[in-house]
């Protein structure tokens, strides 16, 4: 009887083993086939040089863009509240710890987690453990750095293209502009006929107002030993004393120009501008935008050489007047340029048009990157805090069983995350400065920086991620049941 039972049991075991082996063989064969097929498919795609992407055009939703673009503002506001609040809380607990034993326990517990796995001799081992045990909150630091850096890039993307306008503002003072249409900006072509510009200049003179037409030209600059670079030529009437004053008799063979120092082209160098030969007659600063070398050229040279227009009959981008909009309206009416589209706007509106263009153009992407930085950090930190709870499962359960109270244990974790957030905000913000400089080195004329706003965005990302990481604590007693874990 017993022998029969043993035989039946052995037969059952053998059947199970046979089944497992059969399933393993089928799964292996399927994976082998799939591996060979996918390798062949990838090779075929590489050879055909085709790049099929799954994409779908979806309607543009302005509200969505507005919401996304307000992310960095929201993060900065949050950082501005959360960072000092966290710092104050930590300080208050540390001060209270001098005379309150529970505060002392909270301070100690939130600095070092209970679990430790022996001595750590090597630097790498110590660094790894410091990261694992949150003494060095690597994920929040990276999140803060990425947040601050992305905010710096976003600021530069929105503000950087306006740098030539500020340079223009210094070269041609005046708060009012007459433009062909109100939405004009440097990235849009303006074509106010020079005849109309000249009439405006004369009408303005009657009001004792200085009106200065200017032109813009987007082209490509080539200098010896350098990569070709896109440029933005500001054409303005230069006095005869200016090194870049153009003599029409010299034609367009060697146009004198003043070039932005960001291009690193020496004075006296020969360059090529949109196919024309030019000579660097002087240097200027702060006229380059992102990937656009700022170049100042005499206005007639721009119109005649670059725009290939007959002298005196070209078009201008706009006219700047050193007067108020009401007087500018009067001047426009008196200039008798009927039939020519022309409007009066403030120079600030011109700047705002440019900002709005660039904000709409690139900022949604950088804002989404900030959101992703925060989101990834939250997910990573939820994993990190869950892992920490798992590492300290027994220690936490034991303390719960001893009556420490879930709220007290939660408070220690909250204080620990506040400490991590503060450290991450400071270290991440500091790390963002050299990281942003590296980004600047990748694009000519790019000048992203880290200021108070960027630091606050970094702090906002770090604090939001550490607060988000507290989610697992809401179910502490369910996650760590002392009645089971302490057995």
């Amino acid at each position: 009887m017993e022998k029969q039972a043993v035989a039946e049991s052995s037969a059952a075991h053998a059947a199970v083993h046979r089944h497992e082996r059969r399933v393993g063989t089928y799964v292996g064969a399927a994976m082998l086939t799939a591996g060979l097929a996918s390798g062949a498919a990838i090779a075929a795609l590489e050879m055909s040089d085709s790049n099929h992407a799954v994409t779908q055009e979806v309607p543009y939703v302005p509200e969505a863009q507005h919401a996304v673009n307000s992310i960095d503002g929201g993060l900065a506001d949050f950082g501005a509240i959360a960072f000092p609040l966290a710092l104050t809380t930590i300080g208050a607990v540390k001060v209270t710890a001098r005379f309150n034993s529970k505060a002392k326990w909270l301070d100690q517990s939130s600095s070092k987690e209970p679990h430790a796995d022996g001595s750590n001799k090597g630097l790498g081992r110590r660094a790894l453990q410091a990261t694992l045990t949150s003494r060095l909150p690597a994920v929040p630091i990276a999140a803060a750095m990425f947040g601050a850096m992305t905010a710096g890039i976003a600021t530069e993307v929105a503000e950087g293209p306006s740098r030539p306008i500020y340079a223009l503002d210094q070269a041609i003072p005046g708060k009012t502009m007459i433009v062909p249409y109100a939405d004009l900006m440097p990235m849009a072509q303006g074509s106010l006929p020079s005849e109309a510009s000249n009439k405006i200049v004369k009408a303005a003179a009657a009001h004792n107002v200085t009106a200065r037409p200017f032109d813009l030209n987007l082209g490509v600059m080539k200098a010896d030993g350098k990569e070709p670079a896109t440029d933005l030529v500001l054409g303005m009437d230069l006095p005869k004393t200016s090194p870049a004053h153009w003599n029409p008799e010299s034609d367009c063979r060697t146009i004198p120009v003043i070039i932005d120092a960001a291009a690193h082209v020496k004075t006296g160098s020969q360059i090529e501008l949109s196919g024309f030969s030019a000579v660097v007659a002087g240097q200027t600063e702060n006229t380059s935008a992102i990937n656009r070398v700022g170049i100042i050229m005499d206005r007639p040279a721009v119109q005649h050489c670059l725009d290939r227009q007959e002298l005196g009959k070209g078009t201008d981008h706009a006219v700047i007047l050193d007067t108020d909009p009401a007087t500018a309206h009067t001047i426009l009416q008196e200039a008798h340029v009927a039939g020519t589209p022309a409007e009066v706007i403030s120079k600030q509106q011109y700047i705002d048009n440019s900002k709005e263009f660039w904000v709409k153009n690139v900022k949604p992407i950088t804002s989404v990157l900030e959101l992703i930085a925060g989101g990834v950090a939250v997910v990573a930190l939820v994993g990190s805090i869950t892992a920490r709870m798992e590492r300290n499962r027994r220690e936490l359960a034991s303390r719960m069983a001893r009556g420490f109270g879930v709220n007290l244990l939660r408070s220690a974790e909250v204080l620990r995350t506040a400490k991590e957030g503060v450290m991450a905000s400071a270290l991440g913000g500091a790390a963002a400065i050299p990281a942003t400089m590296l980004v600047n080195a990748t694009e000519m004329g790019f000048r992203a920086g880290v200021g108070v706003h960027e630091l606050l965005v970094g702090a906002g990302v770090a604090m939001a991620s550490v607060i988000g990481s507290l989610l697992p604590l809401s179910k502490l007693r369910k996650r760590i049941d002392p009645t089971r874990v302490t057995r």
């Binding site: 034993s101 529970k102 002392k104 326990w105 100690q108 517990s109 070092k112 987690e113 209970p114 679990h115 430790a116 796995d117 022996g118 001595s119 045990t133 027994r394 220690e395 034991s398 303390r399 069983a401 001893r402 009556g403 420490f404 109270g405 007290l408 049941d481 002392p482 009645t483 302490t486 057995r487």
Partner: protein, 255 residues
């Protein structure tokens, strides 16, 4: 702070207590014990006898649904089952089932009970001194109501490692640190599940001697599980268990 205003004579009591595993397998069967103030009860028996479950039930560390019948009271407060009419203490807050709320149970445990659950469970990255003071720090009792950590460390032979990092210490040293941490808050009741399992013979002798000394000096009550013969010298009473049942009611030890 809600204080236990009048400590009862009976510190811990289980009546007709039956506890099962979550799968319904019986662990304790109709167990009744009563631990009076000043008692030092030693619980002995083979592995799987239900000793640890009994200890856990006495401090409320068992899921209520696992308690199939009977009741448990600690300091006169009901932790499981229907409360008895006998009351020595002012009522603390209760759940709808009539047992002590988790919040008040936690407060009672951290202020009046020192618990050791088979492992030291210390903060390895803290110093020995910090660990000795941990339980006293979280208790709601006033500063100075506990014992001097240095004095406790001296009694347990760990005073020379007070500023060492705990994680670097041996298993036996950690066990003595954990025992010291229980004594520093000067609890009224010690609940000890194999507190000397990692100690050498001489260290065990010293640790048990210190426990007896402190319990006698401060009138502490203790319930201890141990497989060490030497622990008999610690106890005033012994309870023998097997298969979830009490084989012998507490026997008074010959002094």
């Amino acid at each position: 702070m809600k204080r236990i205003e009048q400590t009862p004579t009976v510190i811990a009591e289980a009546r007709n207590l039956s506890v099962s595993t979550p799968d319904g397998e019986p662990i304790l069967r109709n167990v009744s014990i009563s631990v009076k103030r000043g008692d030092r009860l030693l619980v002995v028996g083979p592995s799987g006898a239900g000793k640890t479950t009994l200890l856990n039930a006495l401090i409320g560390n068992v899921q209520p649904e696992q308690v199939t019948s009977g009741s448990v009271e600690l300091f006169g407060q009901p932790l499981y089952g229907p409360p008895t009419p006998r009351r020595h203490l002012r009522m603390l807050s209760r759940t709808p089932d009539g047992v002590l709320s988790a919040k008040d149970r936690d407060r009672m445990l951290r202020n009046h009970v020192g618990i050791y659950l088979q492992r030291p469970d210390l903060n390895d990255s803290w110093t020995v001194h910090q660990n000795l003071e941990e339980a006293a720090q979280v208790s709601d009792r006033r500063f100075g109501e506990g014992l001097d950590a240095l004095e406790v460390a001296r009694r347990l032979g760990i005073d020379h490692i007070l500023e060492h990092e705990t994680g670097q210490k041996s298993g036996g040293q950690k066990q003595r640190i954990a025992l010291g941490a229980l004594l520093v808050p000067k609890p009224e009741l010690l609940v000890l599940d194999e507190p000397t399992s990692a100690l050498s013979e001489s260290d065990r002798h010293q640790a048990l001697g210190a426990l007896v000394d402190v319990c006698d000096t401060y009138g502490m009550t203790a319930i201890m599980i141990s497989h060490d013969d030497e622990a008999n010298g610690f106890a005033t009473h012994t309870l023998t268990m097997r298969n979830g049942m009490v084989l012998e009611s507490p026997q008074t030890q010959a002094s």
